[in-house]
């Protein structure tokens, strides 16, 4: 089993390879006439080299007993996961549902699901948040927020 540095550097090594590979179609050019793919190609190689460096460091610390540490052990990892999922769903439905309703639902959901608050607090806080931010950003600051199928 690889340790954390070895695993992450291995992933970044492949990312570097991909960067260099996908730079080729943009034309690399020569040192006296660099093309669009020139810098990304060499950056990809640098990423690979540095990733090898981190991997070597990780291997040396592995030998000293620095084994794999589960980064989500002993933490409440479900809460970040649920919150992130809520953000993604919010992003996907925002244009269709509209700012006010989707924000009420997002804030209400996060307040109930992550660290459950009383329903009264949830309802008031989510409505106040959505309306206040709508007022400040759309009405006062003139920024655009999606209206959705209901028109608000």
């Amino acid at each position: 089993m690889l340790n954390n540095d070895q695993l992450s550097s291995a992933i970044l090594f492949f990312m570097g390879l991909l960067v260099s590979y996908f730079s080729i179609p943009y034309q690399i050019g020569a040192i006296n006439a660099p093309e669009s793919g020139f810098l990304p190609f060499y950056i990809g190689l640098v990423i690979c080299l540095l990733a090898i460096g981190v991997f070597v460091q990780g291997t040396s610390s592995f030998k000293k007993g620095n084994k794999w540490k589960n980064p989500i052990a002993n933490v409440m990892w479900g809460k970040p996961l649920i919150s992130m999922a809520a953000i993604v769903v919010y992003t996907l439905v925002l244009s269709w549902v509209g700012y006010i309703i989707s924000t009420i639902l997002l804030v209400g959901f996060l307040m109930r699901a992550i660290h459950p608050q009383k329903w009264g607090v949830v309802i008031i806080a989510s409505i106040v948040t959505a309306l206040t931010t709508h007022l400040v950003f759309k009405v006062w600051l003139g920024t655009q927020l999606p209206a959705g199928f209901l028109g608000f």
Binding site: D5, S8, S9, V54, Q57, V75, W77, L110, H115, T129
Partner: protein, 503 residues
């Protein structure tokens, strides 16, 4: 003499109702985000950046800058009353500030912190006024090779003290440089790595990236832990320090101001390093070093002054060289660009009203902050009582609105979501975010400097070594990288306090 006449021009421009109002709004928001743990100046500036498009560039920069240095004032409140730093830069204030509060001396701790911040902030603005024009004058002689080497040197400095080791930080800087390549190649006009997404043709937006990496990722990390927060219940009284307090604090404030200013000038230096250096200095020269950590006022006065001086000094490399020394300045860099102002040596010549208006606003902003932080301390304490389970959905909503309103784009929200996950994973695997962000911001400029340099000398790489300034920057960069490989240095660097990811 020229500086004084320029400053008068700045005051002339600033003393209008609008700039004063925006300065007031900025420092008030800054104090709030400084007080509230979990939201910081990067998120606040990113959030308000789209809203500033409707106002003049000068007012926008005055307001956004006010948020930054205002946050540095406000963050001491949580350190003193909660033992939780509002920003990473006020970690050290927890040691003696919280102990002072426990001994019933929360008032003097908050008071000296505000006065120290005021003095240091003002001293730093005076120094900025004197140093910045000279530095800009020197930078005017820089050509593409010098800029290439300067950016490389800046990145090497940022990565030198990074958490998790220099190699990992350099790796992140390289990833940032790649992300900076996404979008249209400025020289050839070829779109690169855009995945046929029109929103990516201008590159990866700084706001979605910052909101994801700093704002949302930090909230996700906080959610893993217990949300209990205990405010130390104490009556805040005697907020004005006594003569004895002043006697013990004045020299730490002066030393903190000087230390903070010089560390703030360095890329990667920032507030946290300045505060730890100030604290270590005070402890070393104190007659009673054993009392540090038990609630001595010098342990609050020095670091808080250093923090504020450093936050002001970080504007100098941004405004004169066009090099943001930390993540907050990276978003300020983006703000200047969005408002049509190119940070760098020509900024002061082409837009003197912006530079000197900002300087004038800092003088007044520091005074406003003193007025906000001392008499209104009760309000800030009440704000601290907002529970995190109620606060975090608001922070997330702010991140979402800030990102969306930049271009009214759902794609930007998806980019933000992507970088939220990336940021969270980076925290988990101990990779620092700041080098990535700085490299991303400077990436296109660095690429242009590289290409122009190569074209100038028909691909001859010695151009970077034959020009003395460029060679000096390169030597510093290479020396830093080589030094970091020495095991003894590596050990010492690992012990240096790190710049956390400020949300």
């Amino acid at each position: 003499m020229e500086s004084i006449s320029n400053l008068l021009m700045g005051f002339n421009l600033f003393f209008q109702p609008e700039p004063i109002l925006y300065c007031f709004i900025g420092v008030t928001i800054g104090t709030i985000v400084g007080v509230l743990p979990g939201i910081g100046p990067v998120s606040a500036i990113s959030l308000l950046l789209p809203a500033t498009l409707a106002i003049t560039p000068v007012n926008a920069i005055i307001m956004l800058s006010g948020i930054y240095y205002g946050a540095m004032y406000g963050c001491s409140t949580t350190s003193i009353l909660l033992n939780i730093p509002g920003e990473a830069a006020s970690v050290i204030t927890c040691l003696d500030g919280y102990q002072m509060a426990r001994k019933g001396r929360a008032g003097p701790a908050l008071g000296i912190s505000a006065f120290g911040s005021y003095i240091a902030g003002t001293v730093a603005v005076v120094c900025m006024m004197l140093v910045a024009p000279e530095l800009a004058e020197i930078a005017l002689s820089f050509g593409p090779p010098e800029y290439f080497s300067l950016i490389l040197c800046g990145l090497a400095m940022v990565t030198f003290l990074a958490k998790g080791g220099m190699m990992k930080a350099l790796l992140m800087a390289a990833v940032g440089l790649f992300l900076g390549c996404v979008g249209m190649d400025i020289i050839t006009g070829t779109p690169r790595f855009t995945l046929d997404i029109p929103e990516l043709s201008d590159g990866i937006g700084l706001v979605p990236l910052m909101m994801g990496l700093f704002g949302v990722a930090e909230v996700l990390r906080n959610l893993e832990e217990s949300m209990e927060r205990n405010i130390f219940e104490t009556k805040i009284q005697n907020i004005l320090p006594t003569l004895k307090d002043w006697g013990e604090s004045i020299f730490p404030i002066i030393r903190g101001s000087i230390i903070g200013f010089f560390i703030g000038l360095l890329p990667g230096g920032g507030g946290i390093l300045a505060t730890f250096t100030s604290y270590a200095t005070e402890k070393k020269i104190s007659d009673h070093p054993e009392k540090f950590g038990e609630g001595v006022i010098e342990g609050v006065a020095g670091p808080e002054s250093a923090n504020n001086a450093a936050s002001t000094a970080t504007f100098i490399p941004l405004l004169t060289l066009g090099i943001p020394p930390n993540a907050t300045m990276a978003i300020m860099f983006g703000a200047l660009i969005i408002h049509g102002l190119q940070p760098g040596p020509l900024l002061m010549k082409e837009h003197p009203q912006m530079f000197w208006g900002l300087i004038a606003s800092m003088y007044v902003g520091n005074t406003l902050l003193l007025a906000l932080n001392l008499p209104l301390i009760g309000i800030w304490v009440k704000l601290l009582k907002v529970p995190y389970p109620i606060l975090f959905p608001l922070i997330l909503v702010f991140c979402l609105i800030g990102t969306y309103t930049m271009n009214n784009s759902i794609i930007d929200l998806l980019i933000m979501s992507f970088f939220s996950i990336v940021g969270y994973v980076m925290i988990k695997f101990e990779y620092e975010v700041a080098p990535l962000v700085l490299a991303l911001v400077l990436g296109s400029r660095w690429e242009n400097a590289l290409k122009q340099s190569l074209l100038m000398e028909n691909g001859d790489l010695t151009i970077f070594l034959t020009r003395p300034i460029s060679a000096a920057f390169l030597i510093i960069a290479i020396a830093l990288i080589l030094i970091s490989l020495i095991p003894a240095v590596k050990k010492k660097v690992a012990m240096v306090p790190k710049e956390e990811t400020p949300s």
